[in-house]
Amino acid sequence: MTSHPSAERPALSRSSAGSPDDWTFRVEALTKRFGALAANDSITLRVRPGEVYGLLGPNGAGKSTLVKQTIGLLKPTSGRITLGRFDLVADPDAARQLCSYLPQVQMPIDSFHVVEAIELAGRIRGAGARDVRGRTASLIDALDLGEWKDALGHTLSGGVKRLVGFCMAIVRPGRLVILDEPTNDVDPLRRRLLWEEIRSLGAHGCAVLLVTHNVLEAEKSVDRLAVIHKGRLVAEGTPSSMKAADRSQLRLQLMLTPGTATPALPPWAGPAVRVGHNLVTAIAEVDASTAISWAAELTNAGVAEEYALSAMTLEDAYIRLTSHMSGDGDDDGDA
């Protein structure tokens, strides 16, 4: 593809623009209001080329609102979104061409053959027919989708359809690849393959924005991440730096017996979060033996079925920041 001269936009201010080769994705003081509700409240973040950046947050946190503003479906109330020297708010055409997008809902490919859907997606993104054929074959091979390559979309399982949608999003990647819950419904083996492909995108210079509320998976896969809660960016850093505040603490998880009330917590336990039958709290390492005795008592009394004491995870930091436990494959329904 060649650049059309008229496509070039004026360079951005020195603070936010890099050299022509700088394809950093920048969100600056982004605010989006729906009436009195601030779905995004002065969010600032940056994703460098080659970086896999996780955007975490519970349902309604404002993740999808940020994505929709990035790809030109919503207009910010204030703030800037830039990709390299392109202002994505002022130039939605550039936003759609420079960003690849895997939405959270399934792709509309019921009438498409798998190979056809991926190839057409690549050609719509400007790749030549021959190139895209080779790339499609590589992706189908890499994600072990060979047995479905000639199948029609409506015959596919949710997980396979998700993988086909992923291939459509990355067959001809943009400078920014936005993946909204890419692993939903995907089996564990192919999840691993999918993460390899995401890492490969980074290796080829794409900035990857990964939207998820599956914290455990993000912890293993992202370079940096941000936690969004009630429209605000409440934390940002590497997975390790996010866990720093929890050092010298342990995670105590109780699987409560169905039908039982949440037991009163001892004073040495931190704030707890219960989701379903899972009760999770943080304790100091010095209280480990006391905590084991307490948990064993609850188990013997039939209040809990089992318990686990382990090192703190990113999820604990996430719980601390948002008072929510992450899910795997939950419906986001994000604002």
């Binding site: 939605p92 400078r175 490969s200 290796a203």
Partner: protein, 265 residues
């Protein structure tokens, strides 16, 4: 590491394409996209269109012991109009309503193609879905009633504009109306209005004067005027004004749909 053969595809591109050459490339691919997305339905729809068209043409004979030439002529030249407008005006907005309901609408809006490309590709698909049924309906009418049809070169602009106006009206209904349910209801209402109260299959003179005047301002009667003028011999009054009214409707609807598609709340 990826194979060398696809390395150029993986490396993200850093240009924004605009211009005619890019437009035609996108148009060709989007026609393929629309055709593939209607793979099953387009065949079914074409068959239904053929059956409906032929059914109308032949069915009119059941109303009469001896079919008057005027009735045969109006039905035979009105059915092609129905054939031409059905895909764009009826199926189009219902598909968009479905996309809005199942969540795929936002993905389709995020595709890196211009709004004019998407609209032009969809218009092409509507022509592909309408023209074969139109031709067959006319052929059957000719055989059944031995009509004095005279297909003039004006059939080309008449067909193109009739289909375009229907497609753009449907496009506006689908994209500019926020609620999918409202789109579906209005589409149903349109079917009822077109068959019952637009002088497509019967002469304008059979309508109350006020309804005839009202129809002058709507596109459906004008579609019948331009199509009929291109299919029958002799001079036709008000053809030029019909083209103008139809063209204005098409432009207005295209503008409305384009604005709705580009809207960023």
């Amino acid at each position: 590491m990826p194979e060398l053969q696809d390395a150029s595809v993986i490396v993200p591109h850093g240009t924004v394409e605009r211009g005619a050459r890019h437009w035609w490339h996108d148009y060709a691919v989007m026609v393929q996209w629309h055709l593939a997305s209607l793979r099953v339905w387009l065949v079914t729809l074409t068959i239904v269109q053929l059956l409906a068209g032929v059914g109308f043409v032949l069915g009119i004979s059941l109303f009469f012991v001896r079919v008057p030439m005027t009735a045969a002529l109006f039905v035979s030249t009105g059915v092609p109009v129905i054939n031409l407008m059905t895909v764009g005006l009826i199926l189009g907005p219902q598909l968009v309503a479905d996309q809005k309901s199942n969540g795929s609408y936002e993905y389709l809006r995020s595709m890196p193609v211009s709004r004019s490309v998407t609209a032009a590709a969809w218009y092409t698909v509507c022509l592909i879905g309408g023209v074969p049924a139109m031709v067959v309906s006319l052929g059957v009418a000719r055989l059944r009633y031995d009509l004095p049809l005279h297909v003039s070169p004006m059939i080309v602009p008449a067909v193109l504009l009739t289909s375009f106006a229907g497609t753009m009206l449907g496009y506006a209904l689908g994209h500019a109306i926020g609620s999918p349910m409202a789109t579906r209801l209005i589409t149903q209402l349109l079917v009822f209005a077109i068959f019952g109260f637009a002088p497509i299959l019967f002469p304008l003179s059979q309508m109350p004067r006020w309804l005839g005047t009202l129809n002058w301002w709507f596109p459906f009667r004008q579609m019948a005027v331009v199509t009929r003028a291109a299919l029958t011999p002799g001079g036709h009054a008000a053809v030029l004004s019909a083209y103008v009214v139809l063209g204005l409707w098409a432009i207005a609807c295209a503008g409305l749909a384009g604005r709705a598609l580009g809207r960023r709340p």
